[in-house]
């Protein structure tokens, strides 16, 4: 049976080609992470990708599905590695990637059927399970010094440091320049809808402004931009229509800022999971009539937009 991975803008490209382009767009962030946090960042990235890929291979064998390489596990492994703290012990990316693939993807039957974003799920699992390991972030360049991530100490970094990534944080989330380069690649190739990062970022900034917080600082700190370009735009786990995606992005923005301002924690991965779960309901109210119609009609609708 052919599996549709949802309404991609590049209807003529196959999954493998799209996934490899996403990997390409993630490379600037990975390079920046390795530049700032050194060899361990590279190790984490390699182990996470291998973990995801091997788990997928075994899982597809058990499910009795073709084990052809489509790149989706590689993307999951890479994204998961980039949202892990660089000080994580080396078993963390392996355990996280394996859990993400099994629990959030393979149990649902593989690519295109999962409800939740596997990488976000993997990180949430790690955060809830191994809080002590996941909550310490080394300062860039130093090995042993543990610094608070930017959010916990609002106002202590300059905008320039935040933008270039010279701050403590997750491997791929610190360098906003690299994230934006990757995001622009995806938008230029027509692989993601620019409305999602735009609406998400604007919602967060407006809420920060209304709450009297520093909007630019909120935009540039934590995992906001990375999530905006690489996690909130995942084909499978976001709404079908433009209208649905805008609702999704705005909802994610509200929840991100509510937890940041009222709880004081960075819970973007949690909120991605939550909003992923809302997607079928958003689709129910935004897709005109024909929920569940074959691909052809979805694509026709796509062209109208």
């Amino acid at each position: 049976m052919e599996v549709s991975i949802g309404p991609h803008i590049r209807g003529d490209w196959d999954t493998k080609r799209i996934m490899l382009c996403v990997v390409l767009a993630l490379i600037p962030s990975a390079v920046a992470g390795i530049y700032y946090f050194g060899y361990t960042a590279l190790e984490i990235i390699v182990l996470s990708v291998l973990g995801a890929q091997i788990t997928e291979l075994i899982g597809l064998k058990v499910l009795g599905k073709p084990t052809e390489f489509d790149g989706s596990a590689m993307v999951t492994g890479l994204i998961l590695a980039l949202i892990l703290p660089p000080s994580a012990p080396l078993w963390v990316p392996i355990v996280g990637a394996a859990f993400a693939m099994v629990f959030f993807k393979l149990l649902f039957g593989g690519l295109g059927k999962n409800i939740f974003n596997p990488a976000a799920g993997g990180r949430v699992f790690l955060l809830l399970s191994f809080a002590a390991v996941m909550a310490s972030f080394p300062a860039p360049g130093a090995d042993a010094v543990t610094a608070a991530s930017p959010l916990a100490s609002t106002g202590s970094y300059s905008y320039m440091d935040l933008f270039l990534g010279n701050v403590s944080g997750s491997i791929g989330e610190t360098c906003k320049l690299a994230i934006i380069i990757g995001g622009v690649i995806l938008i230029a190739l027509g692989l993601i809808d620019y409305a999602v990062p735009l609406v998400y970022a604007l919602t967060c900034m407006v809420i920060a402004l209304v709450a009297g917080a520093d909007s630019l600082y909120h935009l540039l700190s934590g995992g906001l931009l990375f999530a905006a370009f690489f996690m909130a735009t995942d084909y499978v786990t976001t709404p079908i229509t433009r209208r649905g995606r805008v609702i999704f992005a705005a909802g994610l923005g509200v929840l991100t800022m509510v937890t940041r301002l009222m709880v004081g924690t960075e819970s973007i991965s949690f909120m991605i999971l939550f909003m992923n779960g809302l997607v079928p309901m958003i689709d129910r109210f935004t897709v005109p009539r024909s929920f569940g119609q074959p691909k052809k009609e979805r694509r026709a609708r796509k062209n109208e937009q």
Partner: protein, 229 residues
């Protein structure tokens, strides 16, 4: 052994295996997931369910001819609730720490689907003796099932098995803790693990049996053909 004995034991074992209340009937999930963070809590919960289930089953079976159809729900449920209240007194007196740990889930045994479910499906139509065995079996199946969940959640979630009230000992199992298993999500994760494994195994067994039958049929067919020749 007489055939009556065989069928009585069958009433007992069906609750543990093919009609397991948690993994097959999917009843009583709330308490199975809520109180399984510690094995000790699960043991007391299991005892509570067996006690209330067996006692209420016997009474309901004994009075089954005198209860009008229309008021059976309030009648059954009050009988059940009476035994739950009684068990609450016993637990509070002898195991105060576990009584606190079980919280609202102890009084909620009243609405554990298994109790009302057995009253409705079995006790109101059957004599006392099979009803007794049925209650005992379902209760034992429930207890084994929640002990299985609690073992995984405590051993991995806390890294140790600890008893404080029923006995006093601690067994160290792991040098680390998988925190999520102590949280509500852990209940769902472990439950999903068991349920999927059991479903997968039973499906595979079924497929294998079908293959065996097909094989057997083919062989008989071939033999017959050979015999004819």
């Amino acid at each position: 052994m007489s055939s009556e004995n065989v069928s009585l034991w069958d009433e007992f074992f069906k609750g543990i295996g093919r009609m397991n209340p948690v993994y097959v009937l999917l009843l009583g999930l709330c308490s199975s997931l809520a109180i399984t963070t510690r094995m000790e809590n699960a043991i007391v919960m299991g005892i509570g369910v067996i006690f209330c289930l067996v006692c209420s089953n016997i009474i309901i079976s004994a009075i089954r001819r005198f209860v009008p159809e229309d008021v059976r729900i309030p009648v059954f449920i009050s009988i059940i609730s009476g035994f739950v209240t009684l068990f609450g007194f016993i637990a509070r007196a002898y195991m105060p720490a576990i009584y606190v740990a079980l919280g609202i889930y102890l009084p909620l045994i009243t609405v554990n689907c298994n109790l009302y479910g057995r009253a409705e499906a079995f006790a109101q139509n059957n004599p006392v003796m099979p009803t007794f065995m049925d209650g005992l079996g379902i209760g034992a199946g429930y207890t084994l099932a929640i002990l299985g969940i609690a073992f995984v959640r405590e051993a991995l979630g806390f890294g140790e098995i600890m008893f404080q009230d029923l006995a006093q000992f601690t067994i160290k199992i792991l040098p680390f803790q998988v925190g999520v298993l102590q949280q509500p999500a852990g209940g769902y994760i472990v439950m999903a693990g068991y349920l999927i494994s059991f479903t997968y195994l039973s499906k595979r067994k079924e497929r294998k049996r079908k293959e065996d039958i097909a094989e057997e049929r083919k062989r008989t067919m071939e033999n017959r053909v050979k015999g004819v020749n």
